[in-house]
């Protein structure tokens, strides 16, 4: 019975997973090609990695909505591996690197069996941030030149960075039409990447930005081919190189250098980076999973390792879990592993059907996608965020960043760990404390007898990245719908990595209906020895104070006076907001500028994020929240269309009313309890919706949420939102 149900849910979820897989493949195609090119490998190797990864990990893996394929982090490692191992001969170097990829896959499988899914927790988070930023800069430095049409730029990362202004000058002074066009395509592509998220047009956003770039640049070729009298200006050396017989010409690994020092170094770097990148991504994607499942990281690690081995033998890059593509998957309602599978299927179709079109993609277009990715990894905003946490985190961040750029990834991350240790020792004026207590147990967890569902966790000595795994292993044993109290009062020192992780647990528990509370840090707060804790406790302190209102806030204040409502700019929380289907895949960051009347109605500005890590976009919008006296059925109402918010309610069908054909045609209405909804939608209510402007409306039984546009509302829009909401409230509560 249970099994049958599973098959049923799987088949009903299939169409949207196929669709989501399709959208993801639109991004995976250009990214796969681009990452491979950036790695100095044949373009097709990135696609092989995505195809193998998608098929094998979707079958064998343990996570739910992740997408696998070639990763950003590996670009720097693979590029240096090919250069070093091949000693100048890129072709031969690639074959040696493939051998290293195969072996790193084997190591990943072993890591999975050793249950090293906790590997990522052994690194200080600021050091990991520094390493990611270094990878970003590494990608950006090299790809920027390629984006401007210069394929000959060579040198270390720092040299390449210094050459950037010169590169821009050269583009302007260049006489070659080919380079001018190539650079133009590159710059326009970059602009598309930058402004894509700013334009929230449904039809424009049907196709992801990287695919727009591919479509437009291929379109350019056909324009010159069929419409223009002049020949295609971009030189063939600047076009992507895909062999004619793709699957007949697969490169195979050369194990000739297995025992050399360089080779072993490459294997370690590949294993480390692909494991960490995958683990971080899985952790981040779990936070987005609309069904709130917990991934089996060890199983996933084994699957990724196995896929990497296969990919390596077939001439592909490492298979890792990638955050950007996974976020897109979630945003397009991918709900199980089949989306990953279908993304591979579509990739195969693209490669087979559009080989000649793909050959028309200019390299600068792909480079632009990577420049943007690199920038996102190393964006100044990340630095600002780290600075807010503490100056010492900035030292760790920059130490890791600079050492990684100037030496290698492994040296970089090791230095990051050492710097963190030194800083922790200085803050605590003791080094021996860390060493002495490193292996000792320091966590106690028990279920309190008095109140049934309470778990109590107490931590002794210190809690940093060194021994966080002990705390984690205890916390992971607690079902997330229970109440947990984590007591740090016996703990002398808690570092930033741990506080960040605690914050993650807090969010997970909140999402799954539990309660996660941290106590015992109050004493630390005033203690100068605990800067991390202190800063983490007040995450949003730079919210505008009441004195310093912006223009918009002043207008909102005057509206509140007109309506005789209250207005406050201060950040607050609104209960049960995350119960709305709309917020199932979106994470609420802050709620400010609240207009309220007697607690029933509230209009507020809300900031929430879509996606995770580098794919993260913070969106601010104005919404209207009405608390209802009587419970009403859960429903969502929207304009009829294809790309609407409603897909969070996908398992339900559009409820149509025969007697109101116009309403049924114009609105999409869905919800769990169809009969109750039909009852609620009286003649009056339907008439009301028909004769008023469109809003997205959702009910979570206890309250209504009215969303206008996915951005902050102007003063005028706020007024009409108030008017609409008040009238709706009157009708519904009758």
């Amino acid at each position: 019975m249970v099994k049958e149900n599973k098959i049923k849910t799987f088949t009903t979820a299939l169409p949207k997973n196929i669709f989501s897989g399709f959208v993801v493949s639109l991004i995976a195609l250009p990214l796969g090609l681009g990452l491979a090119i950036a790695s100095g490998a044949p373009p097709i190797s990135g696609i092989i990695s995505a195809i193998i990864g998608g098929i094998l990990v979707s079958i064998l893996g343990g996570s739910n909505v992740t997408i696998t394929g070639p990763g950003n982090g590996l670009v720097v490692v693979v590029l240096s591996a090919i250069t070093v191992l091949g000693s100048g001969d890129m072709q031969q170097g690639f074959l040696y690197t493939l051998a290293a990829i195969v072996i790193s896959g084997v190591l990943m499988v072993i890591l999975g069996f050793l249950r090293m899914g906790t590997l990522g927790d052994y690194f200080p988070s600021s050091a990991i941030q520094g390493m990611l930023a270094a990878i970003g800069i590494g990608i950006l430095a090299k790809q920027f030149h390629l984006m401007l049409g210069n394929i000959d730029a060579k040198g270390s990362i720092i040299e390449l960075l210094i050459q950037i202004p010169q590169g821009i000058m050269e583009l302007f002074s260049s006489n070659s039409e080919s380079i001018l066009y190539a650079g133009g395509v590159g710059v326009i592509s970059l602009l598309i990447m930058i402004f894509y998220s700013k334009i929230r047009n449904k039809f424009f956003q049907l196709i992801p930005a990287p695919m727009w770039i591919v479509v437009l640049s291929v379109g350019l070729f056909y324009y010159f081919e069929y419409f223009s009298s002049s020949p295609y200006p971009i030189d063939s050396t600047l076009l992507i190189n895909i062999p004619n017989d793709i699957f007949g010409n697969l490169a195979s690994p050369d194990f000739g250098k297995v025992w050399s020092f360089d080779f072993i170094n490459v294997v370690i770097a590949l294993t480390l980076i692909s494991s960490i990148e995958s683990l971080l991504s899985i952790k981040a994607v779990d936070k987005l999973d609309p069904l709130k499942r917990r991934s089996n990281v060890n199983k996933d690690l084994k699957a990724l390792g196995f896929a990497t081995v296969v990919s390596g033998f077939l001439g592909g890059l490492n298979v890792v879990t990638v955050i950007a593509r996974s976020s897109v998957n979630v945003n397009n309602n991918g709900s199980n592993r089949s989306a990953n599978f279908f993304h591979s299927v579509f990739l195969i179709l693209f490669i087979l059907l559009f080989t000649s079109e793909l050959r028309k993609i200019p390299l600068p277009a792909l480079a632009a996608i990577l420049v943007y990715t690199g920038y996102k990894l190393a964006s100044p905003e990340n630095v600002k965020k780290i600075f807010k946490i503490g100056k010492e985190q900035l030292i760790i961040f920059f130490a890791t960043l600079i050492i990684t750029i100037s030496t290698s990834l492994i040296t970089g991350i090791i230095s990051g760990i050492i710097v963190t240790l030194i800083i922790h020792s200085i803050i605590n004026k003791s080094f021996s404390m860390f060493i002495r207590n490193m292996l000792k147990p320091n966590v106690l967890m028990f279920k309190e007898n008095e109140s049934d569902n309470n778990y109590y966790v107490s931590i002794k000595n210190y809690c940093t990245f060194l021994n966080y795994n002990k705390l984690k292993s205890k916390l992971d044993q607690i079902p997330e719908d229970k109440d947990v109290i984590v007591d740090f009062s016996m703990c002398d020192f808690v570092d930033h990595s741990v506080m960040e992780n605690m914050n993650n647990y807090l969010e997970t528990f909140k999402r799954k209906g539990g309660n996660f509370e941290i106590i015992g840090l109050d004493n630390h707060g005033t203690d100068s020895e605990h800067p991390f804790a202190l800063r983490r406790l007040i995450p949003f302190k730079n919210i505008l104070s009441n004195q310093n209102f912006t223009k918009r806030q002043n207008s909102l204040l005057s509206i509140s006076k007109e309506l005789d409502w209250n207005f406050t700019a201060k950040q607050t929380e609104i209960e049960s907001l995350s119960d709305f289907g709309y917020f199932k895949t979106r994470k609420i960051k802050s709620i400010t500028n609240i207009l309220s009347n007697s607690d029933k109605c509230r209009i507020f500005d809300i900031a929430f994020s879509e996606g995770e890590l580098i794919a993260k976009q913070v969106i601010r919008a104005t919404m209207f929240y009405i608390k209802l006296d009587d419970a009403i059925p859960e429903f969502t109402l929207d304009k009829e269309g294809i790309f609407e918010y409603i897909y969070h309610f996908t398992s339900f069908e559009d409820i149509d009313f025969e007697e109101y054909p116009d309403f049924s045609k114009r609105f999409y209405l869905a919800g769990k309890d169809e009969n109750a909804i039909r009852k609620l939608f009286s003649h009056k209510l339907i008439l009301f919706f028909e004769s008023n402007p469109y809003y997205h409306i959702e009910s979570n039984e206890k309250a209504l949420l009215i969303v206008g546009k996915e951005r902050l509302a102007s003063v005028k829009e706020t007024k009409s939102l108030v008017d609409f909401g008040m009238r709706l409230q009157k009708i519904i509560s009758k």
Binding site: G62, R293, N298, P441, L444, F446, N449, K474, Q477, P479
Partner: protein, 277 residues
């Protein structure tokens, strides 16, 4: 029922001699026992005078203090004496870590604890004034000695006028032979844990049924965690006044390298600890 007929205290003429002696005298009176003091070293008039001065101000003993002066290695001498004199309880003072609010057992006391044939009481904060004992934590783990330990706990708490006993069952993580990977395994593990917990509580209740628990509120707490560590941590979390533990099984070199059970407690005493033989 366990009775402490002879209590032995080591006299080391350290700064904490006075509070240590006061505690010993009080305990000897509470348990109606013979207190025996032992000093390993020369018998000098100064030492005798110092001792006399302390004892004169201390509460009077029901049975007069017997003082032994012996020479040799402290550990050997004390172990030997405890055998010869049929000692039931050995009282040892713990040392405080500099500046830190944590206590540990010094090397001599540690050797004594490991090798003594009798029960051992480790005092972290001996005081001149009497501090009431309000909460005793005792172990309830599955072991042949546990029954005796629990009985001794009730005996001691009655004598000390303690009204609350918590019996802590430490359950090794390895008993839950399921690895938590995802939601399903987590659910399974939670169910298994609940089952083990029921089983353990049943076992402890079985022991309790033979004991007169009148006037004492008894609490049973299961903890999944490292054996020997969790109970100490728990005792300090609930701010227990006395922790009563089973005596360890015979130690060997292996145990020194990989500390377990008692060693965690000895390296960081959460409170006064009584080890029942």
């Amino acid at each position: 029922m366990q009775q402490f007929e002879n209590i032995l205290i080591g006299i080391a003429f350290s700064p904490s001699l006075k509070p240590n002696l006061y505690e010993a005298v009080r305990l000897a009176n509470i348990f109606d026992s013979q207190l025996i003091g032992i000093h390993v070293g020369d018998k000098t008039p100064e030492k005798e005078a110092q001792l006399k001065l302390i004892l004169d101000n201390a509460p009077t003993l029901k049975n007069e203090l017997k003082i032994l002066w012996q020479k040799g290695k402290p550990v050997d001498v004390i172990l030997e004496t405890s055998k010869n004199q049929n000692i039931d309880l050995l009282i040892l003072g713990a040392l405080q870590k500099e500046k830190l609010l944590s206590y540990y057992v010094g090397s001599i006391a540690r050797k004594l604890t490991r090798n003594a044939q009798c029960s051992v009481l480790l005092l972290i904060k001996p005081s001149i004034e009497r501090l009431p004992c309000k909460h005793i934590v005792t172990n309830g783990l599955e072991d042949i000695k546990t029954k005796e330990t629990i009985k001794a706990s009730f005996f001691v708490s009655k004598k000390l006028g303690c009204k609350k006993i918590t019996i802590v069952e430490e359950i090794n993580q390895s008993e839950v032979d399921i690895k938590i990977n995802d939601d399903r395994s987590l659910r399974k593990a939670t169910i298994i844990k609940e089952r083990i917990k029921q089983r353990e509580q049943f076992r402890v209740k079985d022991i309790l049924s033979e004991i007169d628990t009148k006037g004492i509120s008894v609490n049973i707490q299961s903890i999944f965690g490292k054996r020997g560590y969790s109970i100490g941590h728990y005792a300090s979390v609930v701010r227990a006044d006395l922790l009563i533990m089973n005596a360890p099984k015979k130690f060997n070199l292996w145990d020194r390298i990989f500390p377990h059970d008692l060693e965690y407690i000895l390296s960081e005493l959460p409170t006064d600890v009584l080890i029942v033989k």
